[in-house]
Amino acid sequence: MERAVMDVDRSRYEFKTKEKLSVKLEEGLTEKTVRDISALKKEPVWMLELRLKSFQEFLRRPVPTWGADLKGINFGEIAYYANPSIEKKARSWDDVPAEIKETFEKLGVPQAERQYLAGSIAQFKSEGVYYNLRKDLEEKGVIFTDMDTALKEHEELVKKHFMRAVPCTDNKFAALHYSVWSGGSMLYVPKGVRIDLPLQNYFRMNSGREGMFEHTLIVVEDDARARYFEGCSAPRYEEASVHSAVIEVFVGENADVGYTSVQNWSKNIFNCNTKRSLVNKGGKMTWIDGSLGSRVTMLYPMSILRGEGASTSNYNMTFSSEGSWKDTGAKVIHAAPNTTSKVVAKSISMNGGVAAYRGLLRINHGAKNAKSHVQCDALILDDISRTDTYPHNEIYEPTASFGHEASVGRISDEQIFYLMSRGLNESEAKSMVVLGFLDDVLKEIPMEYAIEFNRLIKLEFSKLGAVG
């Protein structure tokens, strides 16, 4: 049987916007670059000091070699800061410069905001260009704004949380991030405020040899609830670009936080992020990551369950195709009694792509009756693709219970023949098996995400044939 070539459809993202820049720093990274970024942003001294400390950490650390191949990154050739030409951040799409507004319209961002979001931020290159939050939430004290505005208007709140979940010493890319970070968003939800609709930030890179280093701070106080959604894309360029975000999430007592990220970066992008949440007593943190694009993705969202009864779920879906290496997983630390965690990772590799699951699960001594379950399933669509699994489990508490399941599957010729014998063409048949493989993740995620995920997966896999 002829095997139809299939891949993630990125046609929706492959357009390049003619840009007007007000500031673009020289390529390359020196202490001067770091100081220039801070000066351009007119930052407080403490932030500059954090940047400089981080920069020393960045210089000190070698590029990690234990995971995906990062040799294609040339830190000296990347533009670390490029500010789109805007007078001020818009609160209405009408005030966003036409060419940038058009970019986001093509990506469906304003439309999504109108339909089902409580608030929205759009970032073009290094800076947020638009932010909006529903009035009623603003009145309840919710803050949702781009990070630069947050630092200006809510400095104490930022200072209290910034770099408190992810230190600059965590890894080389975190150190890089803290040296040159720009953009991102801050979400603050006061005690007891429960937001039903998700808030979204959409990130768009637009040129080759570009760096994007947004910082996201999510602080959800006791008994509050929030859902945050993040989308990323870029058109493809020949030169490598780097995306290195840090996401810090603070989950208050009995608070409920969901963070969903779907990235469809182009295949010139090295995507190395650090995401971490600190979860207090009775709090609940849900990570959902869909990783479709990029050349390399290294991402291991982490939850530190530090209060009794805290829980976390981590759903991770990756697609690796030709020229793409996904090294992803989850990290959970149980540091208190009666904490629970659940990790479900699903990877699909095809057309020579590499997908690796790398996870850490630690249950500290004293985390009595902690419970954890890790499941990682891989689906390989052909003989030239690869999957690896590197689970790392450390259980120091005798009363803890822990389960781990892993599977590697293929789409069998018998499955395809069976489905084709019922009238589905080959790509429809494959698409059906793939969506079936993902089903136990898709059905676990909350409805508002599931709808968006289904839409994206159908869109991305439209070349596989439409499956309803």
Binding site: S412, F417, M420, R422, G423, G436
Partner: protein, 260 residues
């Protein structure tokens, strides 16, 4: 009127010839049964008619209403009105029976140019599920995953009932069925026959044939049909066995004990 014509069909797998010149014609509303010892090529015939890529047709032709089926991919054959009820239906985890059948139904009926058929689908599915004696919840389950042997077989007949093929090949649809299930399946098949579906029923046992009352019974040995007759042939076989029957025909026969 549908017509499936198999002419001098030869097919091989991994270089070994399994079918050595099969001739058979199935018309609308006819039930043909193929019986034969293990390893005689019955299942291979079913797979070749449906287009399994593992088998290579070396000679002969298969025509559906005069069209050359062998040049088509399996999905095209399905859209032309062929159906195969599998002996061992594969599991497709995470895909519900409903979702699968909805897509299959849309694909098959798209080619008929009937336009929007999907509105009728839920009712067709509901009726079909009940017709084969399955509970409503069956439609929500994952396709063949964790099904009992009997559920798999009923599921195949359910699919056939929904897709309404012109010609259906049923490969050991009766194996693993208890008495009640056999009856339910047979009633469904007879109803489909009455609506014009032609069938090729591959079986080892006379049991199902008592319910189906086939128009023709064929005996297949070593890749050929060696004897054809009415349904009384099935009874003769049950009494004398393949060896006895063939001995009477002057054919020596050694059961291929290597095959199941």
């Amino acid at each position: 009127m549908a017509l499936l014509e198999i002419r001098d069909l030869h097919a091989a797998v991994e270089g070994k010839e399994i079918l050595k010149g099969v001739n058979l014609t199935v018309k609308t509303g006819e039930i043909h049964s193929i019986m034969g010892p293990n390893g005689s090529g019955k299942s291979t015939l079913a797979s070749v008619i449906m287009g399994h890529p593992k088998y290579k047709v070396t000679k002969g032709e298969v025509l559906l209403d005069g069209e050359n089926v062998l040049a088509m991919l399996p999905d095209e054959r399905a859209r032309k009105g062929l159906f195969l009820a599998f002996q061992n239906p594969v599991e497709v985890p995470g895909v519900s029976v409903t979702k699968f059948l909805y897509n299959a139904y849309s694909a098959v009926h798209k080619s008929e140019g009937t336009g929007k058929t999907s509105a009728a689908f839920p009712e067709i599915l509901r009726q079909s599920v009940s017709a084969v004696g399955l509970d409503e919840s069956f439609a929500k389950r994952q396709l063949n995953a964790g099904f009992s042997g009997g559920e798999k077989k009923r599921g195949e007949v359910l699919q056939m009932q929904v897709l309404k093929p012109k010609i259906s090949i049923l490969d050991e649809i009766d194996s693993g069925l208890d008495i009640d299930a056999l009856k339910a399946v047979s009633i469904s098949l007879k109803a489909q026959q009455a609506k014009g579906t032609g069938m090729l029923v591959i079986t080892h046992y006379q049991r199902i044939l008592k319910h189906l009352n086939p128009d023709f019974v064929h005996v297949m040995v070593d890749g050929r049909i060696v004897k054809s007759g009415g349904h009384e042939l099935a009874a003769d076989l049950e009494n004398s066995g393949y060896a006895g029957l063939l001995k009477g025909m002057g054919i020596s026969f050694v059961e291929d004990s290597g095959k199941i």
